[in-house]
């Protein structure tokens, strides 16, 4: 502190003799400031115009892609751009072998669940402006990677189909609809919104450690039918049996990760908890 002041004093005192040195330093400081400003401006304008994607790449049979790597793409940013838009741009303009599933672009087909900046998200409904840049895009964790951002969905489909995911009843009115109360329809409403994207399954620590665990989506599917009054009480008991199995509802540790990542806002953890309570109640009835 004192040294600094002293130096300054010295400078002032010997202004004329030190002038050139002083001026040089001032100029260099000014230059530095200008450079910094320019760099900042550049950064800013870069950010205004392009977004950097770091995308996971892997192909089991193409030389150079057998070892997983990350490729960087600079994509021009436009207002309203989603992660999917950016991937499509990168594929169509830089590398046509960049591979990912997508179809509807409006969050109903469930094809493009991805691991974006460390979280499961649907590429089509994630706005670029809501993310930290650069944006890191990886395939869903806890599933086998087929190529680039594509994972093998077979295990997920098997789990979904293992809970008898179809309406079953023995009593149907002839020529007209079954009756269902508005309250009951409301009760199953959120559970029927599932689009099979598997974001929940990918986020679940329990599913990651227990491959036979039904997982949040399949249990939610069971909930959708177990709670539907049109199937009747016998069928409900049958459904509770299915989800009570060793790798069923009791595995859930209520960590809520599935609920957090669900792009359709389905209260998955609550549904699992409710089935646990129903299972206890129905067991009490028998004993």
């Amino acid at each position: 502190m004192s040294t600094q002041i002293k130096e300054r004093d010295t400078e002032t005192e010997s202004e004329s003799s030190e002038e050139s040195e002083h001026q040089t330093r001032r100029l260099s400081e000014k230059r530095e400031r200008a450079d910094m400003k320019e760099r900042a401006d550049n950064d800013l304008s870069e950010h205004d115009e392009t977004v950097r994607l770091k995308v996971f790449r892997y192909d089991p049979e193409v030389e150079g892609k057998k070892d997983p790597r990350f490729d960087t793409f600079e994509v021009p940013f436009t207002k309203g751009m989603t992660v999917l838009d950016a991937l499509i741009y990168a594929r169509d303009h830089f590398d046509s072998s960049l591979t990912f599933r997508h179809s509807c672009r409006q969050a109903v087909c469930g094809s493009d669940a991805l691991f974006v900046n460390g979280r499961q998200r649907l590429g089509c409904k994630t706005q670029m402006v809501d993310l930290e840049w650069p944006v890191r895009i990886e395939p869903l964790p806890h599933a086998d990677v087929v190529k680039d951002l594509i994972v093998d969905m077979e295990h997920f489909y098997d789990q979904m189909e293992s809970v008898e995911p179809y309406f079953q009843t023995n009593e149907l009115p002839s020529g007209e609809e079954q009756r269902q109360s508005r309250e009951n329809r409301e009760k199953v409403k959120m559970s029927t919104r599932c689009i099979w994207c598997s974001a929940c399954m990918s986020s679940c620590n329990v599913a990651a450690g227990d491959n036979e665990y039904l997982g949040p989506a399949a249990i939610n599917k069971a909930y959708r039918f177990a709670m539907d009054e049109r199937e009747g009480e016998d069928m409900k008991a049958h459904r509770l049996n299915i989800i009570e199995q060793e790798h069923g509802v009791w595995r859930c540790q209520t960590q809520f990760s599935c609920t957090e990542v669900c792009p359709k806002d389905i209260p998955l953890t609550e549904h699992i908890q409710e089935l646990k309570r129903e299972a206890v109640k129905s067991n009490l009835k028998f004993w």
């Binding site: 436009t78 309203g80 072998s97 591979t99 599933r101 509807c104 094809s111 706005q127 609809e177 029927t192």
Partner: protein
């Protein structure tokens, strides 16, 4: 070589494909679905509105048929329309019995609501997600029945005999590319192939359709000799988001949302487009008004207009239009409670398609089509809201039943070149349409003389060679061609159609076809090669774009969704007929067949379509 054998092979697993497969299974057939997606990824899931069906006292199928005929602007065929209206109630009850979560009334019965152009509130719905629930409910039933699904298999060729007359040809199966493994495999269909490939909106640059909606079915059927019908009739929806094409429901305008231009004018009234109905005029009227504003320099960014619902207040918006907030925020980055939403017209639905009769049969025996890819024709020149979903289930079921052998009686709608009553020989096109080297078609050479399985094997060999070639050579990337094609279609064959623009489009399409000859796939991988899939799709888009444009150039009148600058009147004297285009082994031929206005109990009399 792998050849899978089934009685019935259904191509596509959306609403129509699932219903066809379940129907064939009900009939005792061994059935398989082959789809380039997984069934639950199909675009049926995006349908919002509902399913028209006359279920209640005070309504009956004849009223539904009448509304549909009027909405079609008298270009629908009465036997098909009446079949739709008669079968829809039973099909809707069937869906309910399969557990579909319909919205309910206080008495527990399924709800119905009013929709545009309907004389009775007969649109049955499940929230604003009717298509999603219909798709999932039917997939669940397919799982229950253990129906075999080949998912992520892309069907790219049909196996059809090469008899000179398409009406003598037979379809014995199809060829598919196994996307995961890269194998080219055959499907032998002992009884029939049902095409249920959905829409073809990717022909246009701006569409509400999925990326997968590339008209594969119509393109394959067309090249195999089946005529395509009324291809010029494309529905454009007036309120889609500019950056993605995501649909903003008519409900926003129904609740009082207003449209205005860059000068703040409420142009539907101030511009005199619809002095009475204003924003609630029919889809084609609003779409034309929006584009007129943009073309005359009153658009925002020369591209779109504003749809504003801020004045409705946060509470009402949250209560009735909550999903719109999510759509605008997620897909356009706009919060519609604070800002107006940018909107512009986008391609939404294709009324035209593969010519079928009311049993789903095409003129090639063993080949069926149902759903948006088909043209029975129920929608004529304009589809009513709520009529797409019943079409899927009614005609999906009929095609599936018929293919599996059920007797549905003789159809009244005639198909094939023999239904021709008039040939178009005066069409002035700037370039020759069709194949670059004739003859060229997807039928197997000498296919008439070989056994069905051998026919499929030959088709597999041919397709394998074509794919190898595309993978191995160097050349143009398909994406550039697709982009130019989509651009010219949206610029020249959109809502407004002028003779000069249509001719310009034909020239660009021809250029695209020439460039496509040198197309190459740069991804060398056999694993999940989407570059290859998209390249094959782009070839299909070129054929579809050409038929839409040829039809639009030929039809010199203004009917339903088809507007021609030079011809501002509906001309019933001359144009109560379907535009038919036949590939004719590479030299497309245009001809006409009459509209069938004779119904079961009455003759439909063309009237002015006003509401």
């Amino acid at each position: 070589m792998t050849i899978h054998e089934h009685d019935v092979v259904v191509v596509g697993a959306g609403g129509a494909g699932l219903r066809a497969a379940i129907a064939a299974e009900e009939e005792g057939a061994d059935v398989a679905m082959v789809t380039k997606l997984h069934p639950v990824r199909s675009h049926t899931g995006a349908a919002e509105g509902g399913i028209n069906a006359a279920l209640r006292d005070g309504d009956d199928w004849e009223l539904h048929a009448y509304d549909t005929m009027k909405g079609s602007d008298y270009l629908g065929d009465a036997p098909a329309i009446e079949t739709l209206a008669q079968d829809a109630p039973e099909e809707v009850i069937q869906l309910e019995h399969w557990g579909m979560p319909f919205s309910r009334e206080d008495d527990g019965r399924v709800s119905q609501r009013p929709f545009g152009g309907l004389s009775f509130p007969r649109t049955t719905y499940a929230g604003a997600e009717t298509g999603h629930h219909l798709l999932h409910t039917m997939y669940e039933q397919a799982v229950k029945r253990g129906i075999r699904v080949y998912d992520e298999f892309y069907v790219s060729q049909l196996a059809v005999t090469d008899h000179d007359d398409p009406e003598d040809r037979e379809c014995h199966g199809c060829v598919a590319y196994d996307i995961k493994s890269g194998d080219v495999v055959g499907f032998r269909a002992r009884n029939g192939v049902v095409l249920a490939t959905g829409g073809d909106g990717q022909v246009f640059e701006h569409t509400t359709n999925a990326v997968a909606n590339t008209g594969d079915g119509p393109a394959m059927a067309y090249r195999a000799g089946v005529p395509v019908e009324d291809m010029e009739f494309v529905q454009f929806h007036p309120t889609t988001l500019p950056s993605t094409g995501v649909l903003i429901s008519e409900g926003v305008r129904g609740e009082g949302g207003i449209l205005y231009n860059s000068e703040g004018e409420r142009f539907m009234f101030e511009g005199g487009y619809a002095n009475n109905a204003g924003e609630l005029a029919s889809r084609d009227v609003v779409s034309r008004a929006e584009l007129t504003e943009v073309n005359e320099g009153r658009g925002i960014n020369d591209e779109y207009v504003y749809l504003d619902m801020r004045h409705l207040g946060e509470e009402r918006i949250n209560d009735r239009l909550e999903n719109i907030i999510h759509l605008a925020e997620d897909f356009e980055g706009v919060n519609p409670i604070d800002e107006p939403m940018p909107v512009k017209p986008g391609q939404h639905y294709h009324m035209g398609g593969i010519e079928t009769n009311e049993n789903g049969e095409t003129c090639v025996s063993g080949l069926y089509a149902a759903g948006e890819c088909a043209c029975a024709s129920v929608h004529g020149s304009n589809r009513l809201g709520g009529n797409a979903l019943p079409e899927l289930i009614v005609f999906g079921a009929r095609a599936g039943h018929h293919a599996a052998g059920r007797d549905l009686g003789t159809a009244e709608v005639d198909t094939g070149p023999s239904a021709r009553t008039e040939t178009e020989d005066g069409l002035d096109t700037p370039v020759e349409p069709g194949a670059l080297d004739t003859p060229d078609s997807d039928v197997a050479a000498d296919g008439a003389l070989v056994e069905p399985v051998e026919l499929v094997e030959r088709a597999v060999e041919r397709e394998r060679a074509r794919i190898e070639d595309m993978l191995e050579r160097d050349g143009t990337n398909h994406a550039e061609i697709r982009e130019d094609l989509q651009e010219t279609m949206t610029e020249n064959v959109n809502v407004f159609r002028r003779e000069a623009d249509l001719k310009k489009a034909l020239e660009v399409i021809r250029e695209c076809r020439e460039r496509y000859q040198g197309v190459a796939v740069s991804d060398p991988s056999r694993t999940f090669n989407t570059d290859l899939i998209h390249t094959i799709e782009t070839g299909n888009l070129i054929d579809i774009a050409e038929t839409i444009t040829l039809g639009a150039l030929a039809r010199e009148e203004f009917r339903g969704a088809h507007w021609r600058q030079e011809h501002q009147e509906r001309k019933d004297g001359e144009w109560l007929k379907h535009t038919m285009i036949s590939w004719n082994d590479g030299s497309p031929e245009l001809y006409y067949k009459p509209v069938v206005l004779e119904g079961e109990n009455k003759e439909y009399e063309p009237k002015v379509r006003s509401y």
